[in-house]
Symmetry: C2
Amino acid sequence: MQHTVTFTFDDKPTTVAVPTNTLLADAARLAGIDIGQPCGGQGRCGRCALQVTEGSVRRRSTLRLSDSDILEGYALACQTVVEGNATIYVPPQEKIERRLTTDRVVAEVTVPADYEYLQDQIVRRIHLQLVPPSLEDQTDDWSRLQTALRLQHRYENVTCSLSLLQGMGEILREGDWNVTAVIDIASVVKSGETDQSVRLIDLQPGLVDEFSPLWGTAIDIGTTTVTLWLVDLVSGQVRAQVAEYNGQIARGEDVISRIIYASKNGGGPELRQRVLDTINSLLETACKRVKAKPGNVVKAAIAGNSTMMHLLLGIPAASIRLSPFTTAVNHPPVMTAREVGLNTHPEATVDCLPGVASYVGADITAGVLSSGVDVAEDVTLFLDVGTNGETVLGNRDWLVTCACSAGPAFEGAGVVNGMRATQGAIEEVWINSATCEPTYRVIGGGKPKGICGSGLISLLSEAFITGVLDKAGNVNLSINSLRVREGAHGGEYVVAWGNESASGDDIVLTRVDVDNLLRAKAAIYAGFTVLADTVGIPLESVSKVLVGGSFGKYINVEKAVQIGLLPDVPWEHFDFLGNTSVRGAYYALLDWRKREQITEIARRMTYIELSADNSFYEAFTSALFLPHTDMSKFPSVAEALENKQVDK
Amino acid sequence: MQHTVTFTFDDKPTTVAVPTNTLLADAARLAGIDIGQPCGGQGRCGRCALQVTEGSVRRRSTLRLSDSDILEGYALACQTVVEGNATIYVPPQEKIERRLTTDRVVAEVTVPADYEYLQDQIVRRIHLQLVPPSLEDQTDDWSRLQTALRLQHRYENVTCSLSLLQGMGEILREGDWNVTAVIDIASVVKSGETDQSVRLIDLQPGLVDEFSPLWGTAIDIGTTTVTLWLVDLVSGQVRAQVAEYNGQIARGEDVISRIIYASKNGGGPELRQRVLDTINSLLETACKRVKAKPGNVVKAAIAGNSTMMHLLLGIPAASIRLSPFTTAVNHPPVMTAREVGLNTHPEATVDCLPGVASYVGADITAGVLSSGVDVAEDVTLFLDVGTNGETVLGNRDWLVTCACSAGPAFEGAGVVNGMRATQGAIEEVWINSATCEPTYRVIGGGKPKGICGSGLISLLSEAFITGVLDKAGNVNLSINSLRVREGAHGGEYVVAWGNESASGDDIVLTRVDVDNLLRAKAAIYAGFTVLADTVGIPLESVSKVLVGGSFGKYINVEKAVQIGLLPDVPWEHFDFLGNTSVRGAYYALLDWRKREQITEIARRMTYIELSADNSFYEAFTSALFLPHTDMSKFPSVAEALENKQVDK
């Protein structure tokens, strides 16, 4: 039976006809209204609440609604179905800013030392001068091209797709039997021996200038943020860097929510399309910057966690979240852009890098490669601070790894005034311990729009050290300052008044924000401490702590230690590397030896499953404080607190 | 500017609006009327003539129209464009019967002697019992399957498509970690060494009965006829054989017409779709017979001449007909049904067998394999009597080959009462030399519908020996018999009167038919004589003459020699093999050693280009007589004629 449902959104009514038992979220989508579902449609977050002003609906779950909410007609779009005609008011939706962004500083990228122009790359552009056919030599076009590849460049057994074969004859003749080929040299390990297989990606008539750019892209698909580098494969130089929120974020903020959403009717294809849209839009922006066309990009190397990789490829990810937590595939086969759905050259190689386990994906193997843990002489700790907190411990002889779900708080999501580290973000905060008045620095200057990850760490640490927050994260409402007040969600601290901010509203840190941040830092801290315990290596004996993650590069070590996110070891042991995942993908894009090294890293890493480990839960609970229940683990913080005490 | 054109066909008017300069053939297609273009739309055959009863058109060519035709408004649909509103009468169209047909006798197919069940085939079905994942063993699904393939069957480095990866997790769990896999073992020659590469085609939950059928198909794409065998890959038995006219025939009867049609706007995709439709419909019919589904067919091996192969794959074939007559590709890469467009299992391997040159394709290499020329001790002549006449001469030490365009006359096309060798076809004719009255045998008994290839050879020979036709093919109108008369196209001979025939019309052999048949047989004869001359082997020293081709099996040797189609050597030297091409494809489908042998045959064959050879034209001209200008080449025929002389 069909019912008429009218949605009013932005003062505009839209009416749709849907059958009984249609989910309100689906009906709204039919009406062209996209209701955000940060928890992936599980009824957990309560953010998709709509107000039913008239008519008949059935609520499957009201977990996040109060009795008075229900009396007022509120219902969760992801948990409520249509039973008759209805009129529904859609409150303003939390908008995820989807403006294109770049990192504050374009990270300096160094071409690998062993990179040799036109000689050692995976993707190569070569000139071929063919002998034209004649009645004496009627060899077919493809064999003629293969002969030139063999005689002029020593490439044997080159493969080529049907679509290239379809265009080959015309290109050879247009170029008067002089052509420029782009080939991909993949190494294949067969029966223990390394073999090379060569694939033709592109063919152009004539001899194209060998130093003109040849485009490739290195991509890191984060749960929260997608980062894309556009690389000139001839020089090895990164020519554009762009980043954007992952378009899937509207359907769940963490991997678990995404997996649940993907398992529901049509959710998988939708999430796949969303991340493809994000990547393709980033690709277009990056290409515009250097006046190139996406269709000229001939190779993509992709890193990302295992869930992101499954969703990108349309592979069901359900087994990742259910015990015994296995992936469908850790090392996807090499594919073409046509198969994957990227708007590059359709024959472009898409190389999805190998991961290790459900929660230690290709972002980490790529990170290990680019941070050099696998070749380090001394024991090194590698932390990836992102939505998922992964840790690797080891050196050139052994590597162990584990993972925990940190949540997106440090990427600015799940925090009321959180934002990515772009123009207008507060990136550092200082609080006067006497007056509790803050000072802050805004990226790009100007009025602040919100607070990014490094700003949140800085704010949390300052608020703790100055006593605005106590050890448990409670706001000290007894402080005599307008900055400290009771808000809608408990105590809150005002970082910027409305008259200073870009939006005109106060920028605040709420009790809920603090809880989210504490959970994130506790999970990361618990992860690496349990890992170190498991292999019996005391944290103090670790010679180097390497921190990756999209905002890793901008963390203030002192403050990160003060909130208990990083271990209390001498500052000189830390190294902040930024997005190690996209950097690893960049190496894998250029250099087939590096690409093999990543496969070897994935093979060597031993994964420790924390969910099977009670000690992780204990370590997590102990770390849900500022900086930790056990202050003896943070001697430098204890000292700082005493100094403050002395100040007062 | 748009014009209104009304077509009247079958008493039914249809009106369409088209812009200036639209071809009448295209406008008619828009009106849903398919105008046959046997010459491929070159204005050569005149068969697409329509009558313009009103309005304005422009004739680009009137080559096939008389002045009175033009006065009556006739115009060639392929050569005339719309200039204003028009009303057009469409004469009844020559219909190509597209009923499904099978060969008269289902050829007995022998499973290769060295065929070993479940052990030596290219495609294999294997059982795999996987260790279920646990918290102690979190290996990903694909690696787990690869481990089972390695440990339980010793297959290393198995590859698999994205779409199989997408379904893998569910299948493994549904089968409770017991699965049945179908794999394809292709041999790859790398740097001189034979290597094996294994590809996963299909995965089913549970352990499927290992002796239940596993379907594959061997296909021969002839210019005129497409033949398909459905094979149980487990037992090696051919379970169904079907054949049908190639759907492309409406767009040209020979390869040259097809290439021209394909080069015109949209012609290539149309011809590709037409042959795919033919194959897919044959596949469906064959599967119905054995109660299988096309989607369960896991491999196709395809033979066919080079033009057919290019058109099937959508590869431009233009270079085949232009000097220096090269193909785009002689040995297409192995593809999947998804890429090619076959309605088998989408992951089914499609193996297009290798050809040698533009006019010696995979049908011939497959024919050489199945006829054994390449392993013969003595010099053997192999003839493929089809729309193209290809010849191979050689033995286990050397192989030379050449080709000529015979046309489709012997397949019943281009002959007024010609038809394929199916129910109702006259397959043999005897003429009483005294009365000139014929006797004939009809396939399946009953009233005759037309004459098939073997019937035409028999008829031609009898008519010649009895004096109904002279040496040059002229009908002897001075004979006192109603059977001999002046027809619309010159002299003709009545084989069956209307009251004996299925249609009620007389079945005749016309002067034009005789010319077409003479050209076909002359081309074939000239081909092999020039080839033998080129290598200096007298035809008499050939120890064996092997005749392939769809109707080869039913040729009466005496009569074929009498018309000068086959050389005048002792009858016991002949062997008629039927469709050697589909048989070769069958071997290549089953057995990877045979498949390698075909590649080796293609490599070994030396192609002699006849177009560069004046002697071919001379030989052809000399052979345009019954049996030949030089009677000394046909001593047995000279003797037969003398005997007849004595009879009278």
